[in-house]
């Protein structure tokens, strides 16, 4: 059951149609937020374009929800400015900003019916009950909530409550939709379904949407652009596949992708024009056909699990500790010294647990990082093996 199976109905409806194309760009300039002495956001500069779907993602405590609440007006920034298009809205009340928010907890009024929940904003604007009902029915039809309009939240399932919360946001005709981890309370199947539904909602309505999640899969599948936050700062902004292929630092490289990237500590032995010789902590040395464009010393080598290969000609010797067969792919965990690396293979061949294997590091795609975690630019010279 998709959120927007009958979305065209909304587009045809009178009131909504007129206000349909109201989109805004969001501009954040030097946004800081501190709770007491704890600095949560540390100077955020960002522009979310008109009609863009931007996902804030990062680990717990990175400040992503706080940033969303600052955009909503529920939290006051300690410093910095916020603009919707060219209008400064840093001190504008939440209701006057033209935003609607879907909360992680849904935040439905438990004593009100679904219809009253969805049209609370209209009630507060003094719109008569009859008009409110028409609007509620219109949005309910779009979200397949029509039979539930007179029920109270306690009589709804988690998924239905979630749709009511989205419906409440749609009713308001906002310029900007804000989502604060809206799928975290749903089971896995419903989460995927709703994820697709929200993406469809964005395509249909075309509004600017900002979505907060800690789940990188949600970020990768839904976003036009992802903003990765780390300790109150933007670690990188970019299109999902751009972040995947060209992470700016080890944090982004480790955060995007599942299973996460393998990080292998290395020491640079020598550097030729078109080659780079590295040593593992075990003392083994190997060469990559790369041309480095900077002088920075390589201390960390990053390889995605799908690029690592179990191969008798591999550079690294290790022991298989676990094998996970997922049907379409197999994950092989190989212990090398204290570290464990993961290989993702689409073949059915799987070594036995406890067996010795060698891991092959290809010339590309690999990611090189310097001591401060920043990626080192390089060009691959040799064709991939």
């Amino acid at each position: 059951m998709h959120i927007l199976e009958r979305s065209n109905l909304v587009l045809r409806s009178g009131q909504y149609d007129e206000e349909f194309n109201s989109m805004v760009a969001i501009r954040l300039e030097g946004i800081r937020k501190a709770f007491g002495t704890v600095e949560v956001l540390n100077g955020i500069d960002l522009t979310v374009e008109d009609g863009e779907f931007v996902v804030f993602v990062g680990p717990s405590g990175c400040g992503k929800s706080t940033l969303l609440r600052i955009i909503a007006g529920l939290e006051e920034a300690s410093a910095g400015e916020l603009f919707f298009d060219t209008k400064q809205i840093t001190n504008v009340a939440p209701a006057q900003r033209g935003v609607a928010m879907v909360f992680q907890s849904y935040a439905l009024y438990p004593h009100m019916t679904v219809a009253d929940n969805m049209t609370m904003s209209m009630r507060l604007s003094g719109i008569p009950k009859k008009q409110r009902r028409i609007r509620a029915e219109e949005v309910a039809e779009m979200l397949q909530l029509s039979p539930l309009l007179d029920r109270k939240p306690a009589q709804l399932s988690g998924g239905q409550r979630q749709r009511v919360a989205i419906g409440r946001a749609i009713v308001r005709n906002p310029d900007v939709f804000l989502f604060d981890e809206p799928l975290s309370n749903l089971d896995a199947a419903l989460r995927i379904e709703t994820r697709v539904g929200i993406s469809q909602l964005h395509r249909t309505l075309g509004n600017t949407m900002v979505y907060v999640t800690h789940d990188q899969v949600e970020a990768m599948t839904m976003a036009d652009r992802i903003v990765i936050l780390d300790q109150g700062q933007i670690a990188q902004v970019g299109a999902p596949m751009d972040l995947y292929h060209h992470p700016a630092n080890a944090f982004v490289a480790g955060f995007i992708g599942s299973p996460k990237m393998n990080f292998i500590p290395v020491t640079e032995v020598s550097r030729g024009k078109n080659s780079l010789r590295l040593a593992l902590s075990t003392g083994e040395e190997f060469e990559l056909g790369l041309h480095l464009t900077h002088d920075d010393q390589v201390v960390l080598l990053g390889i995605r699990p799908e690029n690592l290969k179990v191969d008798p000609d591999g550079q690294i010797a290790g022991t298989v500790t676990a094998v996970e067969r997922l049907g379409s792919e197999t994950l092989i965990y190989v212990a090398v010294g204290d570290a464990t690396y993961v290989e993702k293979s689409t073949s059915d061949i799987s070594p036995s647990i406890g067996g010795s294997v060698r891991l092959l590091i290809p010339d590309q795609p690999v990611h090189l990082f310097k001591a401060n975690g920043q990626a080192i630019a390089h060009e691959t010279i040799l064709p991939p093996r």
């Binding site: 609440r69 909503a72 007006g73 529920l74 009340a93 939440p94 209701a95 935003v99 609607a100 928010m101 909360f103 992680q104 907890s105 849904y106 935040a107 439905l108 009024y109 438990p110 004593h111 609370m120 904003s121 507060l124 604007s125 109270k152 939240p153 306690a154 009589q155 709804l156 988690g158 409550r161 409440r168 308001r172 309370n185």
Partner: protein, 276 residues
Amino acid sequence: MARKLGRTLSDDLGRWTLITLALIFVLLPIVWLAIASVKTRNAALAIPPEFIFTPDFSAYARIMSGGFLGAFQNSLIIALSNVVLTLVLGVPAAFALTRMHGKVQENLSFWLLSIRMAPLFAVILPLYVLFKSIGLLDTPIAVSLAHLTLTLPLAIWMLVTYFRSIPVDLDHAARLDGANALQILWLVIIPIARPMLASVAIIVFIFSWNEFLLAFILTSRNAQTVPVAVASLAGTMSFDWPLIAAVSVASMLPALIFVGFAQRHIVSGLGSGAVK
């Protein structure tokens, strides 16, 4: 299975015995009072007590003729006005204490509780002097305000605990819907907190209805409440036991009616479904 059944049976037996004993302990004095109220003066004082007698309802007639209706009226005015004042002042105060953060709020919470820590005797004399100086002695307003000093901190304390359990996301959702603080309180918090408001109303009403010491000190004739009126019946020379019993029995009725009415609002599970 048999062992489990046996244990359940003995558990039940123990539970019912306890409940019966508790009921006897609570109800026996009331039953005894009700019986005494329909005896004659002599029969009420007879030792050993008479269990077979002709009921005499003259004590109830004497409530009407003896000027007790005034006491009932005073008690009702004091208790109801105290309930209204406590809720009208306590609800916004508790809301502010739970939803606004700062040093003032922290200190206020402690200050409110500290009033409850002071013994009643420490409060009575200043209150007496105060009400005397503003000419409110022997009026229902004085007793009601005196009761308020005790019930308001208690109510705020109870409401603060309850309001804290209401997810703050609901306030945020309402703010985004365009509600100001008062609308959040009126349209969201109060409807959700209705069961707790009813509980507070019951507790405050019962306190005010039964309170003796403050009412005794602050009133003399005009604003006398039922407990004070009952106590005044116990003179040194005369002791109209059936009348005391009849007034006591009659005084339970308004409280029972109020509790019965307020209890209908205590619906469990009203707050569920708000989040998750």
